[in-house]
């Protein structure tokens, strides 16, 4: 099992803030919009350095999405920032009509996704956002795994023409991917080559998959671990190639099982290469208030759950 040493834990939302700050200096067309959550989204530096390109919208997310769509007319590249729940479910029709159907170059950047938002509870812990966004024609859906990758993804999406949903989170997690990485939209990242089982993970579950891989290695199981940072367009070739090699698959995500990464991979494999799959995800349930770690444990999103799923799926080969 390949080692992934890291020196610090950092939140992925700060990776977004850092990437946005870079874009502020390098791309004069980038504008940022926020619905009263500037500090939570780590947009303070952009706001301070480029006040003329920062738009405080107030608590009016529908208006924010519409304004962002309008700003693309004239060549701006708007990055909207609010919590994932208010970035998607609250404004689905605005995104559908004014952004996706209208082919607008808007980057919907969403923090505090999933259970790890923690104590605020289920009203804010959206677990359906990947599904909502990936169903929209033409929408790119990205869920990076750590600070460095979120920063790289933020910079990369400014160069991609078309609507993007960029999902990240609140808690500090191991920052283990290279600081100088180039983020390739739609290209899966091989983290560990293995032969016995493939673990496809996204977002915060990527680190849990690495921990699971170490535990599996201790039991003599050689897991292939692949970071699917882009859920749409899915790296179909990488999915099929790995499933062909290991002949069983575990998916892992901080999202509902319905509509998430597991769904997308199951769709590809059932069509192209029927393969046993186990899914580590939230199973048709809302979250609740607690610490992020407590919630990940209660809802079955820990390394131990990935290990159990791997053992189970290997037996199904």
């Amino acid at each position: 099992m390949k080692k992934y040493p890291y020196t610090e834990k950092k939140d992925t939302r700060s990776g977004f803030g850092a990437g946005l700050s870079v874009l502020g200096k390098t791309n004069p067309n980038v504008v940022a919009l926020c619905a009263d959550l500037t500090t939570s989204l780590k947009m303070d530096d952009f706001k301070k350095d480029h006040p003329e390109r920062f738009f405080q919208i107030g608590i009016a997310e529908a208006n924010m999405i519409g304004i962002a769509a309008g700003m693309t007319i004239g060549g701006k590249i708007p990055f909207t920032g609010t919590f994932a729940n208010f970035s998607t479910g609250r404004v689905y029709d605005q995104i559908r009509q004014s952004v996706a159907y209208s082919d607008k170059n808007v980057k919907i950047c969403a923090s505090h996704a999933g259970l790890t938002l923690g104590e605020d509870g289920a009203t804010h812990q959206i677990l359906e956002d990947i599904g909502l966004m990936k169903m929209l024609p033409g929408m790119t859906v990205i869920n990076p795994c750590d600070f460095n990758q979120t920063k790289a993804a933020t910079i990369a999406i400014a160069e991609h023409h078309g609507p993007v949903y960029l999902r990240f989170g609140r808690p500090a997690v191991p920052n283990f991917t290279p600081a100088d990485q180039k983020f390739e939209i739609g290209q899966a990242v091989m983290l560990n080559e293995g032969t016995d089982v493939t673990i496809f993970a996204t977002g915060h579950l990527v680190w849990k998959a690495i921990e699971a891989g170490e535990q599996l290695a201790a039991q003599g199981i050689n897991a292939e671990i692949i970071n699917i940072h882009t859920i749409k367009p899915l790296d179909i070739n990488a999915v099929i190639a790995s499933a062909k090699k290991t002949r069983c698959v575990v998916t892992a995500e901080e999202h509902q099982m319905n509509g998430g990464l597991g769904d997308s991979i199951a769709q590809v494999l059932s069509r192209e290469l029927p393969t046993p799959i186990e899914m580590v995800a939230v199973n048709d349930s809302f979250g609740e208030s607690a610490t992020p770690d407590q919630l990940m444990t209660k809802y079955g999103l820990d390394a131990i759950n990935i290990v159990a799923a791997a053992i189970k799926v290997i037996a199904r080969k």
Partner: protein, 281 residues
């Protein structure tokens, strides 16, 4: 500047286009399309600085128009075609398979003149504000025009946008409400009374004008005045009084023709009241 007589001739042709388009597919929204004919003709043939021959999405240096109540697409399409954005004969494809003229306007099929999809109500003013902000960033003096329906004001997003535009001094926008007092289920007063709209918009901080939207001379004059009100720290709103179905006697003063196409006999009667001036498509 075109004469009022010339513009009125265009209006009767646009009315014919609207009626024939909705009749051909037995669907669409003639009522408010007819009611807004003078407004669209004024905008595209007199008021706006725009380039219909070389349409670009960004419209740098141009005035831009955003239609929020997308269901009145027949009048929008007719005026876009008649002012040169696309061939007039393409009006015959309205609402048919593989057409660029979808039931509600969209950018998705690449129809020149359309910059945003609309139909799901309440979104156009926000989009217009965004386009206005982009104009300011680009130091582009173009004006943003927009239209929404009066029933559409029941959508909450309109008031989010209203608050923002005034609070952030978006003063390069001239918005218009088609104040015809009708919506699908009946009069706006029966469906959901909205009270004093002038007072509401003024309370939100807008510079509010009003006009008779079916008097083309008055529309042109009011749009001219509205432009002199831009750049003064306030967004401008025009409450445009119109008669739904205007120009066809049996379609006026009722909500019946909001989303109802005429039959053959009704079409013949309606066309007889609007002279063919520029040639039917």
């Amino acid at each position: 500047m075109a004469s009022i007589t010339e513009l009125e001739k265009i209006c009767t042709q646009v009315r014919r286009d609207i009626l024939r388009m909705v009749h051909a597919v037995n669907s669409g929204h003639p009522g408010a399309s007819l009611g807004c004919t003078e407004f669209f003709v004024s905008l595209y043939f007199e008021t706006m600085k725009h380039n219909s021959k070389n349409f670009t999405m960004d419209g740098i240096g141009e005035d831009l128009f955003f239609l929020s109540n997308g269901h009145i697409s027949p009048v929008f399409y007719s005026v876009l075609a008649r002012s040169g954005y696309f061939p007039v004969k393409e009006l015959a494809t309205f609402r048919k398979l593989n057409s660029r003229l979808q039931g509600h306007p969209t950018t998705h099929e690449g129809l020149p003149g359309v910059r945003i999809a609309s139909g799901s109500l309440g979104q156009g003013l926000s989009v217009a504000i965004g386009a206005a902000a982009a104009k300011k960033l680009n130091k582009d003096n173009g004006i943003i025009y927009t239209l929404c329906g009066d029933g559409e004001l029941q959508e909450g997003q309109v008031w989010e946008a209203a608050m923002y535009a005034a609070g952030k001094k978006v003063d390069n926008i001239i918005s218009t409400i088609d104040f015809n007092g009708q919506q699908i289920d009946g009069s706006t007063n029966d469906v959901l009374p909205m009270g004093d709209l002038k007072a509401k918009w003024e309370a939100f901080g807008w510079d509010v004008l009003s006009m008779n939207g079916n008097n083309i001379a008055e529309v042109i004059e009011t749009l001219k005045i509205a432009k002199t009100h831009t750049g003064k720290g306030k967004p401008v709103m025009i409450l445009m009084n119109t008669i739904m179905g205007n120009g066809v006697d049996f379609m006026m003063y009722t909500h019946k023709w909001h989303g109802q196409a005429p039959n053959d006999e009704q079409l013949a009667k309606a066309l007889s009241q609007n002279v063919e001036t520029l040639g039917d498509y």
